[in-house]
Symmetry: C2
Subunit: 140 residues, 2 copies
């Protein structure tokens, strides 16, 4: 199927793998009405309740200008809420709502099944750990 030097390059193989994973993830999350970026925001807030809006954006490498619409969308869905800082009234802290907690609890098993599908392709969690370590060294 592939006859070029690209087939053995890092850029090409990483991109192909990323597309395969994201397509599956989009199918899983799209059925529940959210996108991969929305999911990543929910999990970050779940793990760090009350994080500053701009810090969440930076952690996920999303421009703060583009992050506004993502937060708006999740707030409109009733999954998260902005709370103004009393100390510095420029900043918003992000929190999951009760509905957001419930939504995440429902969707997490589906996400874990998604991860499990690809762990199976790799041949187990040891291979996954090995791969994640290699990938992290690429991203520094």
């Amino acid at each position: 199927m592939d006859h070029s030097m690209l087939a053995h390059s890092l850029g090409f193989t990483v991109r192909r793998a990323q597309l395969a994973i994201f397509q599956d993830l989009q199918d899983v999350l799209g059925a529940r009405g959210i996108r991969p970026a929305d999911f990543s925001v929910l999990t970050v807030i779940a793990g760090n309740s009350g994080m500053k809006q701009s810090d969440v954006a930076a952690l996920l490498a999303i421009q703060r200008a583009n992050f506004v619409a993502i937060v708006d969308g999740l707030e409109d869905k009733g999954l998260i809420e902005r709370r103004r800082s009393e100390v510095d009234r420029r900043v918003y802290f992000l929190h999951l709502t009760a509905a957001g907690e419930q939504f995440l609890a429902e969707i997490l098993p589906k996400w874990q099944e998604h991860e499990a599908r690809f762990i199976d392709r790799l041949g187990g969690v040891e291979k996954r750990d090995q791969l994640v370590q290699l990938l992290k060294s690429l991203a520094e």
Copy 2:
């Protein structure tokens, strides 16, 4: 820097690695006036001269409708040319021009340096081979 479960997931780490590699690749190729997709097309044609336009598109997972502008751009730059099939006058075969061959010869060392930067981060070509194998199993 990361406090979420995402940090150890396949989707997130693959995406981060892909962004790091593509940013570097865009810098390398952008300085020579082409994009990663252009480069991939040039290398495929170099390895398979006279390939059908739609087959190149399929090999690179690019929609044939979106592929037209890429081929147009490379043809406008004088790097490739379309040659009509005598047998089936619907199809175009793609070939590098002499200028295209020369351009690719000039740019390939820069691409190899780019690959080498990431192979270094991994810790050598054995790690690269290991990673490529794992990534291919992800993309099936």
